[in-house]
């Protein structure tokens, strides 16, 4: 089921590759989405599967707000723009982790049961856990929707154009901040989707994001920055490589395979598999 994990990483990392902004807090975005799912379940007994759209909507707002209050200023920096982004988002990550510890306590939590929990179905003689399968389907659907969105709608084109040349789009009357705020909202909503699904089968605790952040980052870079399709392909490759490595090496070394593949790919092709920048 490494494949599914790869698909989830795509949802997590898509927009950040598209917008060329380094976001070291995306693991913490994922953590927040998982907590949202958890609390919806605890307080209102909303099944994680049903709460996914709610979480995604909540994360959309959260992402847009974070853009407006932090990232907008980070992108305005004249010097060291890359470093400012890295450290502004890194600070945000620490801040969010601290807040999560403060409000949610460092305890490990999990969602005890959902409509899907623990069920398996048999496909061609292979037993697949239902939550993972649903997660995979949601990821594919989300990818399809995003791909369509990026290629076919005005907003998608505006986003792409803004990333390429913010000065030029301003001349044709596109508000850069509005486009990027929506882009951040959309990216965060995708993280919300991933978080909603992952909350079903992972423990939830304040540091949970950190364990996924680097892999998501590698996924995007592996596929190549600036390519939606690349991120999707990168996700599948990461999932497969992780599953393969887990069979050969001890479990604690399973990420080594992913990192090694990343290095191999960029050494041969320095802009990732499908990258445009």
């Amino acid at each position: 089921m490494g494949l599914l994990y790869g698909l989830l990483a795509v949802g997590l990392a898509l927009i950040f590759g598209l917008m060329d902004v380094t976001n070291f807090a995306h693991g913490e975005f994922l953590m927040l989405a998982m907590y949202l799912t958890f609390f919806l379940f605890m307080f209102w007994a909303v099944d994680p599967l049903l709460s996914i759209p709610i979480v995604a909507a909540g994360m959309f707002v959260f992402g847009a707000v974070i853009y407006l209050i932090i990232i907008r200023f980070a992108m305005r920096a004249k010097a060291n723009i890359g470093m400012v982004q890295i450290f502004a988002t890194f600070g945000l990550a620490i801040l969010m982790r601290g807040l999560a510890q403060f409000f949610f306590t460092p305890d490990y939590r999990s969602i005890p049961a959902s409509m899907l929990g623990g069920k398996t179905i048999s496909v061609f003689g292979v037993f697949l856990p239902v939550p993972q399968l649903v997660g995979a389907l949601i990821s594919i659907a989300a990818f399809g929707a995003l791909y369509f969105f990026m290629k076919k709608t005005d907003f998608g084109r505006a986003l792409e154009a803004t990333r390429e040349d913010a000065g030029a789009v301003a001349l044709v009357g596109i508000d850069k901040n509005k486009v990027f705020a929506l882009g951040w909202g959309l990216g965060s909503a995708l993280i919300g989707l991933a978080g909603g699904v992952m909350a079903i089968f992972f423990y939830i605790y304040p540091d949970v994001g950190a364990s996924f952040a680097l892999i998501a980052y590698v996924t995007v870079a592996l596929g190549g920055f600036g390519s939606v399709f690349g991120a999707f392909a990168g996700g599948i490759i990461v999932g497969l490589v992780e599953a393969t490595t887990a069979m050969i090496l001890p479990p604690s070394l399973k990420s080594v395979g992913i990192y090694a593949v990343y290095l191999l790919v960029v050494f041969i092709r320095p802009r990732g598999l499908f990258g445009s920048i």
């Binding site: 010097a79 450290f87 890194f90 403060f102 980052y217 920055f225 990192y259 050494f267 920048i277």
Partner: protein
């Protein structure tokens, strides 16, 4: 406007003055807890200075310096515990190994640009972390306990007082600063700034871009490993979690970023502000276990990086950072 040479002379005098003050501070500050923070501050100032050489001056942003730090710490600790080699030699060996590895890694990675390079440095350091985490000879996840063999400069162990560590850290910090100071006006220093500003233009003007990156990487890795070796002796216990994680790479970069990237004084200023702040929030507020220290720490990093993208050093000079070079 004073000239570049004048500024460099003034920097040197100021550095000597500050070092003299720092050397006297322990006569007045006897509190062991405060001394501990001062040692860490000096160590991070030096580490950040080392990071600054590669990432600040040469513009190759590395977020994998924990690898070199860990290599320095592990080389010293392993040589000492397994073979009884004195830490001084272990320190040099660690530095040499780190430099060689930095060169070997630089060969393929320096072809990468932007995010691809940054991620490669993170990923390489992470592989190093995972390997040490699983390497039984080096204690795997449990790490290495460095046995106490009595207080002496020869063995570089001091259990009764922090002062020897303080003075070593001070010398280390001064050496790192002096090396940066010296390099700033050397052929390498000019090459690095050229590579940082515009690698293509630099190449066309005859700068050997690749070699100058390699040079920066080797110096930077060597100094970082010395810091690692020092840290291993200072805390006398190392494990992969404490010396090789990604968080640690960021911690080394933060003082330079907050103080001012690619400047002589940035890392020093950043460390003096950041490290005491980190330690104090951790011990006075962090004890509650509820993350208030993280909230404050995170908020300060966000605010400073947004408010002063050039680094805090900009507050002290009317001239924009890294533009004090005459034609």
């Amino acid at each position: 406007m004073d000239s570049f040479t004048q500024r460099r002379r003034r920097d040197l005098i100021l550095a000597g003055f500050l070092a003299a003050i720092a050397a006297c501070v322990p006569f007045f500050v006897k509190d062991v807890y405060v001394q501990n923070i001062m040692v860490l501050t000096l160590m991070y100032a030096a580490l950040s200075q080392a990071w600054n050489i590669l990432s600040g001056y040469c513009g190759q942003i590395s977020l994998g310096h924990a690898l070199y730090f860990g290599l320095g710490a592990y080389t010293t600790a392993l040589l000492f515990t397994k073979f009884g080699v004195l830490p001084w030699f272990g320190m040099l060996a660690g530095g040499a190994i780190s430099s060689v590895i930095a060169l070997a890694l630089g060969y393929p990675t320096f072809r990468l640009r932007g995010h691809y390079f940054v991620i490669a440095t993170i990923v390489i350091a992470e592989i190093g972390f995972l390997l040490f985490h699983n390497w039984d000879y080096a204690g795997a996840a449990l790490g290495i306990d460095i046995p106490v063999r009595g207080d002496s400069w020869a063995k570089f162990q001091f259990t009764r007082s922090k002062l020897p560590f303080y003075y070593f850290a001070l010398v280390f910090c001064c050496v790192a600063w002096l090396i940066t100071w010296w390099l700033e006006d050397s052929k390498w220093g000019f090459w690095w700034r050229a590579v940082k500003d515009n690698p293509d233009a630099a190449e066309s003007l005859g700068v050997v871009v690749f070699n100058s990156k390699m040079g920066a990487a080797a110096v930077s890795a060597f100094l970082t490993a010395i810091g690692g070796a020092f840290y291993a002796q200072f805390v006398s216990y190392i494990d992969p979690e404490s010396v090789m994680t990604f968080q640690f790479s960021l911690l080394m970069a933060l003082p330079a970023v907050l103080g001012g990237i690619g400047t002589l004084w940035g890392p020093v200023l950043g460390a003096v502000i950041l490290i005491p702040m980190t330690e104090l929030t951790r011990s006075f507020i962090g004890g509650s276990g509820r993350g208030v220290d993280l909230i404050l720490y995170g908020a300060v990093i966000v605010l400073i990086s947004l408010a002063r993208p050039d680094g805090l050093i900009g507050l002290f000079s009317r001239r924009p950072a890294s533009k004090g070079v005459p034609q």
